[in-house]
Every structure is written in structure tokens, then in C-alpha cells.
């Protein structure tokens, strides 16, 4: 075909451009002035959670290292972006309006890209600092170590007067006027970044590096014996994941009207872990769907008022009992997956609706 003759890089750029164009069109509707702000809010948070879940999946799913501390990287990203946006008004982006009503599509995209990269790098640096000492620990000790770092980050942020850590960070007062943190995040940027992160995760998974990561997950000693530098790959996975988490943090920090400390609490961190396990450790499409479900479901259950907070954990327990491998297990959503499900359903129907009976006779 002609399409396959086009250089790979060009093809990828074209695909990315197509995605961007589609998202821009949708963005017109989602961010229209008369659109429902509540729906827009939920949609944006779903996107941010997708990024977080896919990023955590690189460490917890691909590499099999259990991190409970990604909420700390998220916090670093959010505060770095918000601080850059607020304090950088004067020097970096003097053209941004100070009331927070900035646009970030088109040529005005520079500030948000800059802040996302800066936040991602800051989070990646912290990730390196956390990862280097922690990754010699295994299993639950690694989990508690990362949890400890996340708690320390939270307490340090709580004590930073520069970003009003003890109360809430909305902006700063300068020259007698109160300047709000610019709210640059919109539907387009959240979902464009989500698309890029998902794409990168797919690329990583099916590359030789991804195979090395999965070898570490399956058996660390065997991987080492095969000549894989396990420490190096663990640190790489950790840093890449921290970078993406920091970018998600930037999107979050430039979206919410006020950053408060309890947005980065232990329970929020657990939320991301639940998404990853629920979706199926290592399955990119699985964790994406789980992120959508776990962010959207509480909103859909809002009519049940305070019962939803009881229903969700019960559903979680039930799901872990009935489907312990998560929604997708380690599979990805693909034509082959649908074929497999179809076969399973057909087998179930042909077996007279009872798999159990068939298994007993075998």
C-alpha cells in the first residue's frame, strides 16, 4: 500500500495530528461558554485520572514494582505548575491575563507546554531521588518506602509558605492586586496528553525495553541471569512513570481553582492504585477503562447521595472476589480480545449455559 511506504515518523506525526484535530473539534463543544461546567469538570478529571493510571501501570503493571507513592509525584507536578504559572506571570509569560481566564489553544499553547514539561521533569527528578534508594527493596517494603516518601512530600508542601501549603493555593497578591493561578488546562490538553501517554505506554510495552520490564516482573533473578540490568530498568520505569505523573499533576494544578494539601492525601494515592489493579495489572486498555469507570461511576451514583461512598467499596470487594485478575487481566482491548470473548460466550451457550457442569464431567 502507499500508506506503508510513508516514513514511520511521518506516519506517526500524521496520526498524532489527526488525533489533535479531532480533539480540537470536540474541544469546541466541551469548552463552549454555554456548556455544562459540571460535565466538563468530570470529563477533565477522567482524563487526568487516565494519565495517572496509565503512568502508574508502567511501574506497578509492567515492572511489577509496587508503588504507593505516586500521589507525591502528582503533588510535585501540581505545585510546580501552579507556582510557575503564578510567579512566572511577570517574567515568563507577561501576556497571560491575571484573572485566570487564559486560553491555551493555538499559538498561546507555549505556557502550558512549558509548565507541563517543567513539572514532569521536576517529578521525574524526585522520582529518581526516591527510586535510587528504594528500588533495592522488594515487595511490601518498597510499597511502604514509596508511601513514606509521598507522606514526606505532603508534609513538606504543607510547610511551604511560598505555595500557601497550609491553606490553599489560589494565587498571589502582587502590586496590590490578587493574581490568580492561570487556568490553562482544558479538554484538548488533557486528552491530547492522555493520548500521547497511552501511545507511549503501548510503544514501551511492545519494545525490547518493555520486554525487559516484564521480565523483571515475572522473575527478577531469571531476568538478571539473562543479562538484564534489573536495577537500571526499575529506575527507568520509575522515572518515566514519575514524569507522566508530574505532567498529570501540571494539568491538575492548572485546572482546579485552589490547590489544597488534602487533594494529595494517602487515600487519593490509593485511588490510583485501585484503578490499576481493577483494570488489570499491565493492561493499558484495562486501566484506561478502569480510570473512566472509577471517576465516572461516583458521579453517576451521585443521586444516591452518601450511599455511593458505601456502594463503591462494596462493589470493589465483590469485583475482587468475582474477577480477581481485574477487568482485562493482562490482555489488551483488540480484535483478538473480542474474538476470545465471543468464543467464550459461544462455548457457554453451547454447553447448555452451565460451564460448571461441563467442568465437573471432565
Amino acid at each position: 500500500m502507499v500508506w506503508s511506504k510513508v516514513p514511520l515518523l511521518l506516519r506517526r506525526c500524521a496520526a498524532l495530528g489527526f488525533v489533535a484535530a479531532v480533539l480540537l473539534v470536540i474541544n469546541r463543544f466541551v469548552e463552549a461558554p454555554d456548556s455544562n461546567r459540571y460535565h466538563e469538570n468530570v470529563i477533565v478529571f477522567i482524563g487526568i485520572n487516565i494519565i495517572l493510571a496509565v503512568a502508574l501501570n508502567i511501574v506497578n503493571g509492567f515492572t511489577g514494582q509496587f508503588s504507593l507513592g505516586h500521589i507525591g509525584f502528582f503533588a510535585v507536578g501540581a505545585y510546580v505548575a501552579a507556582a510557575l504559572g503564578t510567579y512566572g506571570h511577570d517574567r515568563l509569560f507577561p501576556w497571560l491575563p491575571v484573572d485566570g481566564s487564559a486560553t491555551s489553544v493555538g499559538p498561546a499553547a507555549f505556557p502550558i507546554i512549558f509548565m507541563m514539561v517543567a513539572s514532569g521533569l521536576a517529578a521525574a527528578l524526585i522520582g529518581l531521588l526516591v527510586g535510587l534508594p528504594s528500588l533495592r527493596l522488594r515487595g511490601d517494603y518498597l510499597a511502604i518506602m514509596t508511601l513514606g516518601f509521598a507522606q514526606i512530600i505532603q508534609v513538606v508542601l504543607l510547610n511551604l509558605p511560598v505555595v500557601d501549603g497550609a491553606t490553599s493555593f489560589t494565587g498571589i497578591e502582587r502590586h496590590g492586586i490578587f493574581e490568580l493561578t492561570p487556568h490553562l488546562t482544558n479538554f484538548f490538553w488533557v486528552y491530547f496528553v492522555a493520548a500521547v501517554v497511552i501511545w507511549a505506554a503501548y510503544g514501551l510495552r511492545f519494545s525490547t525495553h518493555g520486554l525487559a520490564l516484564m521480565a523483571v516482573r515475572e522473575d527478577e533473578i531469571a531476568a538478571e541471569a539473562m543479562g538484564i540490568n534489573t536495577t537500571k530498568y526499575k529506575v527507568i520505569a520509575f522515572v518515566v512513570s514519575a514524569f507522566f505523573t508530574g505532567v498529570a499533576g501540571a494539568l491538575f494544578g492548572l485546572y482546579v481553582s485552589a490547590l489544597t494539601n488534602d487533594q494529595f492525601s494517602f487515600m487519593q494515592g490509593i485511588n490510583i492504585v485501585v484503578m490499576v489493579v481493577l483494570g488489570g495489572l499491565g493492561s493499558i486498555s484495562g486501566v484506561t477503562i478502569a480510570a473512566v469507570l472509577l471517576t465516572g461511576l461516583p458521579e453517576m451514583l451521585r443521586f444516591t447521595e452518601n450511599y455511593r461512598l458505601v456502594i463503591l467499596p462494596l462493589l470493589l470487594i465483590l469485583l475482587m472476589l468475582t474477577r480477581p485478575q481485574g477487568i482485562f487481566g493482562r490482555d489488551e482491548l483488540s480484535a483478538g480480545w473480542f474474538a476470545k470473548q465471543f468464543q467464550a460466550v459461544r462455548g457457554w451457550v453451547r454447553g447448555g449455559g452451565s460451564r460448571l457442569a461441563g467442568r465437573r464431567t471432565r
Binding site: 509496587f66 534508594p133 533495592r136 527493596l137 522488594r138 511490601d140 517494603y141 510499597a143 511502604i144 518506602m145 508511601l147 513514606g148 516518601f149 507522606q151 514526606i152 508534609v155 513538606v156 504543607l158 510547610n159 497550609a166 533473578i221 494517602f266 487515600m267 490509593i270 492504585v273 485501585v274 489493579v277 481493577l278 495489572l281 444516591t304 447521595e305 452518601n306 450511599y307 461512598l309 458505601v310 456502594i311 463503591l312 467499596p313 462494596l314 470493589l316 470487594i317 465483590l318 475482587m320 472476589l321 468475582t322 474477577r323 480477581p324 485478575q325 487481566g329 460451564r355 460448571l356 467442568r359
Partner: protein, 371 residues
């Protein structure tokens, strides 16, 4: 110097409370290799159970709470403690049987009863709130219960144990924890209003420098830990617990009923957490709500890891270190310009330092991996 000793005693008292909770974490980890995230919420239920017991006792012995006669008070305190410990032990047993055990086996009746009842109750409450008649609401609740029971029966029966269940168990524990917190938060259960204990114990004014509650909490913690150490080291069931934590498969081959040992471990650990819950909330005098267990839960978990998770003396040691470190930061941090808001960070910093030096905790044994 005198003040330092006083702070040290307060630190040890705080640490002994952490240790009581951490013991439950570490024993459960020992037998099941599971971080029981719901343990902090058992502590919370202990606080409420003690409150309920003291209310019942107060109604039963009207003079108990409101007179200056100190005679019935120590007895009342002991009864409240025992009631809370019993109820928490029962709760731990139910949690294990309904949520964790079905992950390891094909049992479906217990989870169907308890999870089904919880879902049925929520369905019933929602139906009542939607202005349905009482009987239709009851029918809806019963229907939800039966549906859950059927679902669990079919899935449990055809379960294959292909998936590594440790992460599954961890997420289940998180689910149980969130359920206990949010269920307690419902207005018809504990409600989110802060609750206060009545005066449980008529105490003489503090003798000298050390306050009475500190001494009592420390004393009770020492007694409970002595009893625990007797159970673990001198009794048959204690020997079984040690055997299961050493090697569950070999223990099962030696004729130990591992499921029963695990259930007993849960009950024992939960009872200790309940005792800590009553004492901390009753003597601090602060109001508490259904989320009171989250922070002590995390701290105690850190304490358990600090001492080497799975190691019982290690949990006690870790708890003491955490408590003393925290108190010292609050008391003397200002001398080196560390505000007392850093108390939580210092606990974790200590954890990180110790784990870097000894990757399996202070008293934990480094596991050599054989291939």
C-alpha cells in the same frame, strides 16, 4: 532533664498505643502476607464500641458516670474495655471470614451472608429514601441480598486459582477499610458528628509531673502485651501461629488447621486495636468521627514495617520508636527550627533511614532467595 524524662514517658505511652495497633498488622502479615489496611478502621470501631458500651453501662449503673464515688469506675472501665475488645475481635473475625477467606478458597456462604447483607441494607435504605413503602423496600433489600449470594455462589464455585492473590487481597483490604469508614459515616450508623466519651475513670489529679491517663494507658498496654506474649509463646494456638507464619504449607502438612489459626490471629489483633481505640479516644478527650482510624492506622503500619513486618517484638519496638520520635519532634523540634507540623514527616523519615540501613526492618530477618 526532668522535663526530658516526662516527654520520654509521653512518647513511650504514645508508642505503646502504636505498638498495640502494629501488633495486629504484623501478626496478620505473618500468617497471611497481607497488609490489612482495614486494621485502622477496626481501631475506629473499637472507639465506637467502647462508647456504646459505656452508654449502656451508664444507663445500667446511673451513678457510675455522674457521681464522685470512685468505686464502680475502675470496674466500669474494665468492662468497657473488654466489651470493645470482644466486639472488635468479632469484627476482625467477620472481616476475615467474609472478605479475605473467600479469596483463598471456594467458600461462598459467609461472604454471601455478610456482603449480601451490607448491599441489601444499602438497597433497603435507598428504597426508603426514595419514599417506597416499607414492605417494598424490604423486598428490594432481600432481592439485592439474594442476587449477591447467587453471584458469589456461581463465581466462587468455578474459581480457578490462577491469579496471584496478594494484590487482590490488598485491594480487598482497601475496600473493607473504605467500607467501614463510609458505612460508619452514614447518619443512621455512627454519623459524621464528632462523638465524645463520658468520664470513664474517676482519676485523682495528676500526681506530680506525669498525668494519670499516661500511666494507665501505659499500664494497660504492658498488661495486654504480656498476655499476648504469653499466648504466642506458651500456648498451643500461639505455637500454631508461629508455625503458620514460618511456613504455612509445612504447618498445614503437620496437621495445623491454618484457616482456624488465621481467623484466631485476626480476632487477637483486632481486639488489641480495639483496646487502643478505646483508650486513645477516651483519654484524649477529643471528639472523634468514623475517620479517626486512618492516621493511627498508617502510623502503626509504618511502626510494624520499622520493626520488621511479621516480627511480633519488632512491632512493639517499632511502635515505641515512632512514638518517642514523634513526641521529641513536638517537644524539642523548635530548638532546631523544625515546626511541630513536621511530626508526621519525621516518623516517615525515620522509616526510610532504617529501611535503607536494614532493608527488612530492625528485627526482621533478611530473606535469602534461593533459586
Amino acid at each position: 532533664m526532668h522535663q526530658f524524662l516526662e516527654q520520654l514517658l509521653i512518647g513511650i505511652q504514645l508508642g505503646s498505643m502504636y505498638a498495640l495497633i502494629a501488633l495486629g498488622y504484623t501478626m496478620v502479615y505473618g500468617v497471611l502476607k497481607l497488609i490489612n489496611f482495614a486494621h485502622g478502621d477496626v481501631y475506629m470501631v473499637g472507639a465506637y464500641a467502647g462508647l456504646g458500651a459505656s452508654a449502656v453501662l451508664g444507663a445500667w449503673l446511673p451513678q457510675h458516670l455522674h457521681t464522685t464515688v470512685p468505686l464502680p469506675s475502675p470496674m466500669g472501665f474494665v468492662i468497657v474495655m473488654l466489651a470493645a475488645m470482644f466486639l472488635c475481635g468479632l469484627l476482625g473475625l467477620v472481616i476475615e471470614q467474609a472478605a479475605y477467606r473467600p479469596l483463598r478458597s471456594r467458600v461462598w456462604v459467609t461472604p454471601a451472608i455478610f456482603i449480601g447483607a451490607a448491599i441489601g441494607y444499602i438497597a433497603y435504605c435507598m428504597a426508603i429514601d426514595a419514599n417506597r413503602t416499607l414492605w417494598s423496600a424490604r423486598l428490594i433489600g432481600l432481592g439485592a441480598w439474594l442476587a449477591v449470594a447467587w453471584l458469589l455462589r456461581t463465581t466462587q464455585r468455578r474459581k480457578t486459582f490462577a491469579v496471584s492473590s496478594r494484590l487482590t487481597a490488598l485491594i480487598t483490604a482497601i475496600g473493607v477499610s473504605l467500607f467501614l469508614e463510609n458505612f460508619g459515616d452514614l447518619p443512621q450508623v455512627f454519623s459524621s458528628q464528632p462523638q465524645f466519651y463520658p468520664t470513664l475513670l474517676q482519676m485523682p489529679a495528676s500526681t506530680g509531673a506525669v498525668s494519670m491517663p499516661t500511666v494507665i494507658m501505659l499500664g494497660v498496654a504492658v498488661v495486654l502485651m504480656t498476655i499476648l506474649s504469653y499466648i504466642v509463646t506458651r500456648t498451643k494456638i500461639g505455637k500454631a501461629i508461629r508455625a503458620v507464619s514460618f511456613d504455612p504449607d509445612a504447618a498445614a502438612l503437620m496437621g495445623i488447621n491454618t484457616d482456624r489459626v488465621i481467623a484466631f490471629t485476626f480476632a487477637l489483633g483486632s481486639a488489641l486495636a480495639g483496646a487502643a481505640g478505646v483508650m486513645v479516644t477516651a483519654f484524649s478527650g477529643n471528639g472523634f468521627n468514623p475517620y479517626v482510624g486512618v492516621q493511627p492506622g498508617i502510623k502503626a503500619f509504618v511502626a510494624a514495617v520499622l520493626g520488621g513486618i511479621g516480627n511480633i517484638p519488632g512491632a512493639a519496638l517499632g511502635g515505641l520508636i515512632m512514638g518517642v520520635a514523634e513526641t521529641m519532634v513536638v517537644a524539642y523540634g523548635s530548638l532546631i527550627h523544625v515546626p511541630d507540623t513536621y511530626r508526621d514527616a519525621v516518623a516517615f523519615l525515620l522509616l526510610i533511614l532504617i529501611l535503607l540501613l536494614r532493608p527488612s526492618g530492625l528485627l526482621g530477618k533478611a530473606a535469602v532467595e534461593k533459586v
